[in-house]
Symmetry: C2
Subunit: 178 residues, 2 copies
């Protein structure tokens, strides 16, 4: 059985996932004093594994916090040879063709994959390997930065499943590939 590949990500009104200085502080533009779940916990509860790029992996490592994921994380990299001691047993390196990687993960029982990181998401979209997109829009124009979406060889139709508003400000829309 084919699995499902998900994107769960926040963008600015102008579709950026990082600002001009590669920063993500603007993600906290909308205060969340009671730390309510804006959909992430519920989303993660159905995820079997993460697939992320090396850059995103290094960003997460750079936070200097405890390893934040409770599901296995597969890091796409053709250059990394070893994972740091601190996340051994939680992270595995994978390389090669992403279609094959996804098939192998599916065969191992990882059916619901959370695809994360700008470049990784773009590679998956190019190969038409994204089944569901959950995009949270933060009400700010960054005026530049790293875009979520890039050029694609052709159009991709999605269907809208649901939109929720969190903290009166964050618009989270859930789309499924048609």
């Amino acid at each position: 059985m084919k699995g499902t590949n998900y994107v769960f990500i926040a963008t600015s009104l102008d579709g950026k996932i990082a600002d001009k200085n590669n920063g993500i502080d603007w993600l906290n533009t909308v205060p969340n004093p009671d730390n309510i779940d804006t959909g992430f916990k519920r989303f993660m509860s159905k995820i079997d594994a993460l697939v992320m790029g090396r850059s995103t992996f290094e960003v997460v490592m750079g936070f200097g916090i405890e390893w934040p994921y409770s599901v296995p994380v597969f890091v796409l990299s053709n250059s990394l040879k070893e994972i740091p001691e601190t996340c051994k047993g939680k992270v595995e390196l994978v390389s090669g063709d992403i279609k094959t990687i996804v098939e192998e993960l599916n065969n191992k029982g990882f059916k619901h994959l959370y695809i994360d990181g700008g470049q990784t998401i773009q590679s998956f979209l190019k190969e038409d390997l994204i089944d569901e997109l959950i995009i949270t829009t933060i009400p700010i124009l960054l005026g530049g930065g790293v875009p979520l979406f890039d050029e694609l060889p052709d159009e991709r139709k999605f269907q809208h499943l649901k939109t929720e508003v969190f903290l009166e400000q964050l618009v989270q829309s859930h789309y499924q590939r048609v």
Copy 2:
């Protein structure tokens, strides 16, 4: 009293207002057999005048339909010298600094302006002259084309006022400049 400048526009999931061939057929991706109002009529009911760029004006003229606007339309152009016979009395040419143009329109009683056309919207955003954004997202990735947003000198915060879903597929969010 200062007026309010509005943008009311549809974009693809990847933030485009026209596809790779400058086409807008994808706007009809979601069927609307009963031709229900997806917010436009209600929006237009509070608009005193339109301000659009020359390119958009020429696109509207090119539709070959009856002139579609019931409010005065001001076309920004430094090159056009005359407006076609068919829309005389309905369209006026304006040129020069957009801040001054807006002030003059406000002084003439046009307080609620609908700013239309990709380049015109971008010019207004650059000058921080957009007060409200009403963006309708069509569930399609075009994979290229004409982007709604461009580079800005700095960030612009907005607040989310309302989100509505039309035809179960079109997500329309209303934002106000903070």
